[in-house]
């Protein structure tokens, strides 16, 4: 059996080192900005998105350094979205990964700017020559990342999520919202591996289908953890969807059917990888891990 937990831990350590290098501290008067950026980006995350980039890249023998840079850039985008989503005007969260959120630790203005800086830095890192020798690959990566992050992806999904607190969402609205809010960036992680490796259509489509199902399974488990999880282990406030009266997969499907749905989606994700051999083992084990995780 593939040692997924060990692989995730090793990957997280490697990504943290790359982030540390790509987001250097500054001694300038505005050093407070990079302090906030590093506080938010270097706090201990699971680095799930980077893992997907690296594991997808391995299918196509992508140079490790290229994969790591793209992985770090996507993690920057993820961290920027957490900073902004946590703001008082948005979800108003004070805890994240077991620590005070960025605007609590610093202040709101600094947190907004730290998020903005991370987003710009992510695009800069991807566009730099060190990310891939072929500029067409870099331009394509920028384009797809921007789509996944923008109004048709993550930002649009967060808008929908905010509106969800006011209007009655059914299963199809929740699915659409989650596909945009978290699914688009997760799907891009696997697309990035295919782009870096100049994969053929068949491999590209298989990977995309995997990421699509995986993203939804991941989100359903997130909703389950919000209801069932232990705040100490999950590292952020739980039961918040319920107290906000917000429709989630769990509130609409119930715990048992939501659990079944996530297992079914994870299996479906794994089946999409049938065209690959043992080199896809990390991705298969990861799908299994996602539905079994406790945090």
């Amino acid at each position: 059996m593939f040692p997924i937990e060990q692989a995730l831990a090793d990957n997280a350590r490697e990504i943290d080192a790359v982030l540390d290098e790509l987001l250097p501290m500054r001694r300038d008067p505005e050093g407070r900005l990079m302090e906030a950026v590093r506080y938010a980006a270097l706090s201990a995350g699971k680095r799930i998105r980077p893992f997907l980039v690296v594991a997808s890249s391995q299918l196509f023998d992508v140079t490790r350094q290229y994969a790591l840079r793209v992985a770090a850039a996507i993690e920057m985008v993820h961290c920027y979205s957490l900073i902004h989503d946590d703001l008082p005007a948005m979800d108003n969260d004070e805890m994240r990964r077991g620590l005070p959120t960025c605007h609590v630790k610093f202040d709101e203005a600094t947190a907004i700017l730290a998020g903005d800086a991370l987003l710009a830095r992510a695009f800069e890192v991807i566009a730099e020559a060190a990310t891939h020798p072929d500029p067409r690959v870099r331009a394509d990566l920028v384009c797809e990342l921007a789509r996944a992050a923008g109004s048709d992806g993550m930002v649009g999904g967060q808008m929908l999520d905010l509106l969800a607190e006011r209007s009655p969402f059914g299963i199809s609205e929740i699915t659409r919202m989650q596909r945009m809010k978290t699914g688009a960036l997760i799907a891009f992680c696997c697309d990035a591996g295919a782009l870096l490796g100049k994969a053929g259509d068949q491999a590209r489509h298989a990977l995309h289908a995997y990421a699509h199902d995986l993203g939804l399974a991941f989100q359903i488990v997130d909703d389950l953890l919000d209801v069932e999880g232990d705040q100490e282990i999950v590292g952020k406030r739980t039961k918040k969807d319920e107290s906000a009266g917000k429709a989630t997969f769990v509130s609409v499907l119930g715990v048992e059917r939501a659990r079944d749905q996530s297992t079914m989606l994870a299996q479906q994700a794994i089946d999409h990888l049938d065209i690959f051999n043992t080199e896809a083992e990390p991705l298969r084990s990861f799908a299994q891990f996602v539905v079994e995780r406790k945090c």
Copy 2:
């Protein structure tokens, strides 16, 4: 004499049409997001940055459509920065271009997301194949725009600006802050023309030096208008630097020396263009216009 006011008006109309096309309205549940994006980006701005992109591109016979797309993308970045800077946690401004600011018209969460969406869309537009046939040019544009917008540029400058309210800034700190906050993006406008046109080193350096001096002249005049300008004509709250007790070029140099300094910088900017012929007339007239403007 070059009809600069007419040229600016024509350019603004053209850019507005491109922005209208690149930021389409949406009927989805999350349509509120694009409504806010369009409210902020399509309100009547002077479109000074787009003018610089187009005028610089003309020096190198760049296809107009390429220049217009980059010009629109840079204007998106400028508009995103205005939305975020106006937020209550930042400068807390309620008027912009004679209208309520984005968070007043919509709400804070929507305004934060509209800014985020504009920034992502700007990178998407630049990276798309329609912006330039050579992907290396597109990747370089993304890289330079990200640098101008990020922690070493605009975002870092805004952080410094917020800190300026708390600490005593002298002329060198103000200059550095403005170089980052507004100068970096203005300089990128001219760099973008050179990149699109694959300009040689001499032309590139001359244009960059022009933009550098122009950016500072522009900011000094902005500070002068804040002190001397009519709120009705300027279209935003004036005298705000003074009431915030914030050091500006005017508070440090005084009105007369600040005025002299801006005139001197504009002339210096024009001198940098000596290597060009009449094709640089729009840029020369623009530098003159910048120091004579009333809003």
